[in-house]
């Protein structure tokens, strides 16, 4: 028997992930070793330093195009670009997670085990410092996401999926207020997520049966020279897609999204809306473009149908929402549909435009949730639409920023929303998917209405007695707002540099 040999490992290419996982483990130790008072500062600094260091590592590796550790991780243009995006968006989310000025003690419960509604619960809600476990959990999630977009075999992908999902399930349950809602959201997310993971794993098994391997390049080889009945292939691809579409929140696998977005602490909602989207679409792109490109004619119409369904579900249900977080959840579902239009172009422009869209949308959505966290009354955030009436009169600056972000979501020119929509639609027309673009345009019309309704409420309605005060944002949230706004403007007015970057990065290795 041959001695088991370690495959060659390119540590440089893996460094970004290693840094994050290391920092996350260190964060767990900090929980034990550092006194409670100092923990928040230490944890936040540690997490931010890790993210920055990891980002530096990604930038250092910008020229790398390699497949390493036995073919299970691919570091190439899309990987590095998406990793960079996840890190930047994740770093910004950490600022939101770390803000403790808007609400005394932060947005998180001080001890998750306290019984809801008990005396202790009232005490913790009134301002005990929030749990600091959220930082290592977030960093674990970020590390998993980095691996997810780099995974070059289906099992590694599955492991990465679990690594970034499990911390997210926990994070969803840690809201300081409305804890039942938060816990319900976490449980729903966890149960449905587990099903999705199971589907994914089942699909991997089918594909293994078909291709005789789980590496994407092996699958590609098998798909190009079919030796077996395609039933296994289609079953496998279908089940894998369900797992990925669930994470990306495409209809009909979207039902968890509104509940989870509403129930989760707002910084975590922002984190999921920005980073999970990038990770899920990154993996979807890799699986479809690298492994299953050979059967594009078979999956393109079906996934196209899913994209159309998603756009309609997101747009139509967004019209009926009365809660701002749910409205943004449905808007994020519709946006997943637009992203899918870019994915299905199945050409280099499709890849680059989808990556552009992910970054643009991520920053806008972070700013949107940052603003939601600011409008609050004594009972926490006031997310019901009616409470936002006339807020433009009370704090014009904040309402102005939110209006701009909403116009970006609606795809009005000179915002990143327009350039990114143009990019994916252009790629899709170029890739022969004009029908998707037509549905995309129609749903954009529908989707403009809910955004406009919020704008009308904020500016044209008179402030009511119940219009809550707007908190003065602390430094961290202000930074998030400023960054989100600047990027939304910059990518709308001068998108050329980022477009070129995505185009340079738009080539997978096998």
């Amino acid at each position: 028997m041959d001695p088991l040999k370690l495959p060659p490992i390119d540590y440089g290419a893996l460094l970004p992930m290693l840094i994050l996982f290391g920092a996350a483990c260190l964060g767990v130790l900090v929980e034990v070793a550092v006194p409670r008072r100092a923990r928040n500062v230490v944890q936040l600094s540690l997490a931010l330093i890790a993210v920055v260091a990891s980002l530096v590592a990604v930038i250092m590796e910008r020229g790398t195009r390699t497949v390493t550790i036995g073919g299970s991780v691919a570091v190439d243009g899309p990987t590095l670009f998406l990793q960079g995006s996840i890190l930047v968006l994740g770093g910004v989310s950490l600022l939101l997670i770390g803000d403790r000025t808007i609400e005394q003690g932060g947005a998180f419960v001080s001890q998750a085990a306290i019984t809801v509604g008990s005396q202790k619960d009232a005490q913790q809600a009134s301002g005990q410092p929030g749990a600091t476990e959220v930082y290592p959990l977030s960093v674990f999630a970020l590390g998993g996401m980095l691996l997810f977009v780099a995974a070059n075999d289906l099992l590694t992908m599955f492991v990465a999926l679990e690594v970034f999902s499990l911390p997210l399930y926990l994070l969803c349950a840690l809201a300081r207020r409305r804890r039942l809602l938060s816990q319900e959201a976490a449980l729903k997310y966890f149960l449905l997520g587990s099903y999705a993971s199971a589907f994914f794993l089942f699909g991997v098994a089918f594909v293994y049966g078909y291709a005789g391997g789980i590496q994407l390049s092996v699958v590609h080889e098998a798909v190009s020279n079919p030796q077996r009945s395609p039933v296994l292939l289609y079953a496998g691809l279908g089940l894998i897609s369900i797992g990925l579409l669930f994470k990306a929140a495409l209809a009909p696998f979207h039902v968890w999204t509104p509940d989870v977005y509403q129930g989760a602490p707002t910084p975590i909602t922002a984190f999921m809306a920005a980073c999970t989207k990038v990770a899920a679409f990154g993996a979807l792109l890799r699986v479809l473009y690298v492994a299953f490109e050979g059967v594009r004619w078979d999956f393109q119409p079906i996934l196209g149908g899913i994209a159309v369904l998603t756009m309609f579900v997101g747009a139509i249900l967004a019209v009926t929402q009365t809660d701002l977080k749910r409205l943004l959840a449905y808007s994020s579902i519709a946006n997943a549909g637009y992203l899918m239009v870019g994915v299905l172009a199945l050409n280099p422009d499709g890849l680059s435009s989808t990556m552009f869209y992910l970054v643009a949308y991520g920053f806008s959505v972070l700013a949107a949730f940052a603003i939601i966290s600011l409008v609050r009354d004594s009972d926490g955030e006031a997310t019901h639409l009616s409470r936002w009436a006339g807020i433009g009169r009370k704090s014009p600056l904040l309402a102005g920023i939110f209006t701009f972000i909403l116009l970006a979501f609606a795809g009005i020119p000179l915002t990143s929303g327009f350039t990114s929509k143009f990019a994916v639609f252009g790629a899709a027309v170029d890739g022969g998917q004009t029908w998707l673009v037509i549905f995309g345009v129609i749903t954009s019309m529908l989707l403009a209405f809910p955004y406009l309704r919020v704008v009308v409420l904020m500016w044209l309605s008179e402030p009511g007695e119940t219009t809550p005060a707007v908190s003065i944002p602390g430094f961290l949230t202000s930074a998030v707002l400023a960054l989100g706004l600047i990027v939304t403007v910059a990518l709308g007015v001068a998108p050329a540099p980022l477009i070129e970057l995505t185009q340079q990065a738009a080539e997978f290795v096998r």
Partner: protein, 513 residues
Amino acid sequence: MKDFPFLSILTLLPLVGAGVVAFIPRKKAELAKLVALIWSLVVLVLSVFMWIAWTVDGGERFQFRESYTWIPAWGANFTFAADGIALVMLMLIAILFPVVILASWNDVDQSTRSAPAYFALLLSFEFTMIGVFAAADVFLFYVFFEIMLIPMYFIIGSFGTGQKQYAAVKFFLYSLVGGLFMLASVIGLWVLGGKTFDFTKLAEATAAIDQNTARWLFLGFFVAFAIKAPFFPFHTWLPDSGGAAPAGAAALLVGVMDKVGTFGILRYCLSLFPEASKWFAPAAMVLAVIGIIYAALLAVGQNDLKRLVSYTSIAHFGFIGIGIFAFTTQAGTGAVLYMVNHGLATGLLFIVVGMFVARRGSALVSDFGGAGKLMPVLAGVLFFAGLASLALPGTAPFVSEFLVLIGTFSTNPAYAVVATLGIVLAAAYVLWMIQRTTQGTLNPALAEVPAMSKDITLREKAVVAPLIVLLLVLGFYPKPVTDVINPAVQATMQDVGKEDPAPTVVADGKAGG
């Protein structure tokens, strides 16, 4: 002077002005008004210089061309260039804005909203208007086409009267729907045209697009422009917006913004999709003629002055529509001239109606009656604006309406005949409105409103005087304007591939008459 970057500076100047005015504190409202007025006058002066620098005889179709790189990956550039049609529209914009700013001087004083914000919105609206006419890059045009909604949306929604929120949202959604149809066509055009947005290059590339696809692309553009103009049956947003907007903004809405629709049809639909334009022309003509009659009938029945003027505007756009789709140089020149004259005449009518409404505090015709006895001069101005609006010979709109009708008659006599009925109806709605508001016995309720006894003020004289002068001058001597328009229209007709018919029909007509 030819090399001076007129168009980019003209576009950016009002934007800078809007920024300056927006930062003037609310308490210094008078300063904000003054800055806005002076700023718009500077734009006017610059436009006059541009008019002088324009080469009329033997000049190129597109002049003052400037181009700066924007998004190389998509082939989008900041390209500005004006043809004769754009030039006269830019001139109209430059004239109307200072007039409207002066006319809106006291509009915001009574409201709880901030006056500097209002004037900043007006200036930023001027920025989008100039941009949309000066753009020669389809991407840039689309950008301006969409963002023009935002200042107008806030003007209607925040500073309007009556059902202003409803009107603002309806306005925004209608235009956005049209814009998104156009976006689909823009993307299609971009992919098929070789990933460029340059108007000249696209005009060459579209010849290779197959007939069916070109018709769909045409339709996307056409729907957007038909909503903007608006043509029947896409018109229902205009009476609501015109009725709810402050009078000055309403004058801009119908006087300038709606022209983007007809301008777009001339520039983009006709030149880029000549075959499809010809194919759709009968349908477009039918819509235009229906619009003329239908809107005129509705105007007769209106009891709200601002809505009434909005409906007259829809009828006038029907005339512009048949002028464009008649495909003769005469009718085309008439249509473009109509765009200018309509801006002056309907702009004046809206502004004067606004003066009446501001005094009475109501826009209902039934709330007036015999107002001419209280303020004869203002009533006289309303009478003049009405006459100009119904195209009385001697006023500018007569020339354009006449050109449109004879130009249309030579190719499509039936449409021209039906459209002529619209002139009769125009007389009905204008004269009846004037009779009910300013003539007859004095409405006793009117005498109790102190403001109604105050005849035209010096500021208001300064507002209406330039428009009246222009309407009369262009009524008698339109040559300077037609000289600029004619070559551009001829070039457009050449793109469509339509020769003017031999003048037999016209000659016969003359012999018979």
